[in-house]
């Protein structure tokens, strides 16, 4: 224990100067000093490995753009670099918000599915736009095959996971409900527009939407009802 004669206080720290008035402290052998608080450590916001990976990613994006332009066939242009330009940031975001993130598994499945659907639709649109291959009659494979496949696969996977591991069920209910709504919406778009043309995909989506809703209410009625009460309480 040290003493500040100016402030007339005892200081429990191994210091030369008073933390209040910055005057010189004098020793007082009354008591043993202990470390009261942990030392300040500033954590680096980004490690060297992360910096190296970020650098490599940016180089890869730039290199793919230059290589694509340098080797472009002017009669039949193919802008494959779009996949790299959009894909690499997507991988970074997935690692950050899905793999490293400590959020719950149902949230991760839902967010990853939605992000992947939008990414693939975006890639197809960009490729077709820059290649000049888009018009009203264009059939989009991303919308006709990829989107319904992801919706069906993710919703079934989530239903099985939450049924096997009960602790996930309450966290999954709203996402299962959201998947069902998206599948029903897809089925509706298939029925009223010509934009979606693959009929078996449309019917599969509609069927899975109904099956999931039925499963939620038949096998987990109490939990589903309770979850709706919680989420919608006013």
């Amino acid at each position: 224990m040290k003493h500040c004669p100016h402030c007339n206080v005892d200081i429990n720290a191994n210091r030369k100067r008073c933390p209040l008035c910055y005057g010189i402290l004098v020793d007082d052998q009354n008591d043993l000093t202990y470390q009261a608080h942990p030392n300040k450590i500033i954590k680096e916001k980004m490690t060297l490995t992360t910096k190296l990976l970020l650098f490599a990613s940016l180089i890869a994006i730039a290199a793919s753009v230059f290589a694509n332009i340098a080797t472009l066939n002017k009669d039949n242009p193919l802008y494959w670099c779009v996949l790299v330009v959009v894909g690499i940031p997507y991988i970074w975001l997935s690692i950050r918000y899905v793999i490293i993130s400590k959020g719950n598994v149902p949230t991760k499945i839902f967010m990853e599915s939605i992000a992947t659907m939008f990414l693939i639709i975006l890639v197809e649109i960009i490729i077709k736009l820059v290649s000049g291959k888009i018009d009203e009659s264009t059939t989009m494979w991303s919308v006709n095959y990829v989107v319904p496949s992801i919706l069906v696969a993710a919703s079934i996977a989530l239903l099985i996971l939450s049924s096997v591991l009960k602790k996930f069920y309450c966290d999954s209910i709203m996402y299962l409900f959201a998947f069902s709504l998206l599948e029903a919406l897809y089925f509706l778009l298939f029925k009223i527009s010509s934009f979606i043309s693959v009929s078996w995909m449309g019917y599969t989506c509609g069927g899975v939407a109904i099956a999931i809703l039925l499963a939620m209410f038949i096998f987990h009625f109490d939990d589903t009802k309770e979850e709706f009460i919680k989420r919608f309480h006013i």
Binding site: N12, C170, F232
Partner: protein
């Protein structure tokens, strides 16, 4: 799984909307033991204590219209103390608890997100953790009723939202309060929070407070106000008045057993501008403010707080919109009616057998750029610990407080969390 969820109490509703890593709206209650903490025993003790406080064993969830609390099935994490104060509560990561239990040397810290409970609730929880910690360390303790371990029939009353329970639509709201003087200063780098703790003997402090015909809370409030007056108001013309925010434990005024948030507050009302005041004048101001606290005034304040929540249009407004409006309102009006907060948890009581193993308790109120200086206090045995948390590098206010106390003949021991810059 049924019925294991809770709505947020009235005071809690603002905090999830304004939660940020740099402003977690949390506070800390700590206990300093006489021996180093064993983290394994601490984990067992925390799990045992959580069984007694199920309404604290929750995680925050988003509904369509309001947030709510749902039972958390994860195990709590016990970690080494983070040197950055009020930084260890993580609502959406780690195990998702709205509090954190950390340790450093002989100290156990309970950092609590304010949406869950107030200082009284947190101190009861920490007392129970400490009780189980000592029991599991092989100490024999006869619980004299000062530790919440049994009486599970009280759980319903403890988890009750007494803001809504005491709401009376016929009671008039309080008028909007004027803006108070705001302290400016140089911020620490890296979002660091400075801490200066003054450790004072309770018996001497009580004697001096009685000499001024006030309580320990009244005396310390006067010391803080007088230190602020000397620093910013004496011989300086100021536009806004000096106002100290003092939380009031509403339980004793409303016969409440709730251990969720149930605090109201007062702000000191004396005039500090253009006046030549002595310390005795400031003690009179504080005495006047404290003696005017009564159930009617607190009820009007409670009604002012709850009235907005009862509005039908507010209730049916989607949560994202409520969050957006609350964030703006918090930034515009949140802290501007007070200069500094001072909260005294009072004298904590524990069974006699625990006294030999506990040195003292500490109570720290979280600070942010908007509310850069807050002061917490708590007493145990003969140790009164005043914890001055600040975002500002400057030390003149706490130096004034320390020297005013020392001039009154009170022995002052100081601890700080800064490293000395040579």
């Amino acid at each position: 799984m049924k019925n294991d969820w809770y709505t947020l109490d009235n005071a809690a509703k603002i905090f999830p909307a304004v939660y940020k890593h740099s402003d977690t709206n949390s506070y800390r209650v700590s206990v300093l033991l006489k021996k180093d903490v064993n983290p394994d025993t601490l984990l067992i003790a925390t799990k045992d204590a959580l069984k007694r406080f199920p309404y604290l064993c929750v995680k925050l969830k988003k509904g369509i219209f309001w947030y709510y609390l749902e039972h958390n099935y994860n195990d709590p994490l016990i970690e080494q103390e983070d040197p950055f104060l009020f930084n260890s509560v993580r609502l959406h990561t780690k195990a998702g608890f709205m509090f954190s239990v950390t340790y450093f040397g002989r100290r156990i810290n309970l950092e609590m997100f304010h949406a869950l409970t107030d200082g009284t609730g947190a101190s009861e929880f920490l007392k129970t953790i400490t009780y189980y910690y000592l029991l599991h360390s092989g100490i024999k303790i006869e619980n004299d009723g000062s530790i919440q371990t049994e009486e599970v029939e009280k759980l319903s009353a403890e988890s009750f939202d007494d803001f809504n329970g005491n709401y009376d639509a016929h009671v008039e709201k309080l008028k909007k309060e004027e803006k108070a003087y705001q302290i400016k200063g140089r911020l620490y780098k890296d979002n660091w929070t400075g801490l200066v703790q003054l450790i004072l003997p309770v018996d001497i402090l009580k004697d001096i407070a009685h000499k001024y015909q006030t309580t320990v809370t009244g005396f310390m409030s006067a010391i803080i106000l007088y230190a602020l007056y000397l620093s910013y108001f004496k011989n300086v013309k100021q536009k806004n008045n000096l106002r100290l925010f003092i939380p009031i434990n509403a339980r004793k005024f409303f016969d409440s057993y709730s251990l969720r948030n149930f605090m109201l507050y007062i702000r000191t009302t004396g005039e500090f501008r253009d006046k030549d005041l002595s310390f005795e004048n400031v003690v009179d101001y504080v005495r006047h403010t404290l003696t005017n606290i009564n159930r009617d005034i607190l009820l009007r304040q409670l009604v002012s707080n709850v009235k907005n929540e009862k509005n039908f249009f507010v209730r049916i407004m989607p949560l994202f919109l409520k969050d957006f409006i609350m964030r703006i309102a918090y930034r515009m009006f949140g802290q501007y009616s007070s200069t500094v907060s001072f909260s005294n948890l009072g004298l904590l009581k524990l069974p006699k057998e625990m006294e030999n193993y506990i040195e003292r308790f500490e109570f720290l109120i979280g600070v942010s750029k908007m509310s850069p200086i807050n002061i917490g206090a708590v007493s145990y045995n003969n140790n009164f610990v005043l914890s001055y948390a600040t975002k500002y590098v400057d030390r003149h206010i706490i130096r004034k407080i320390a020297t005013l106390l020392s001039d009154e003949g009170i022995p002052v021991e100081v601890e700080v969390n800064d490293l000395e810059v040579e």
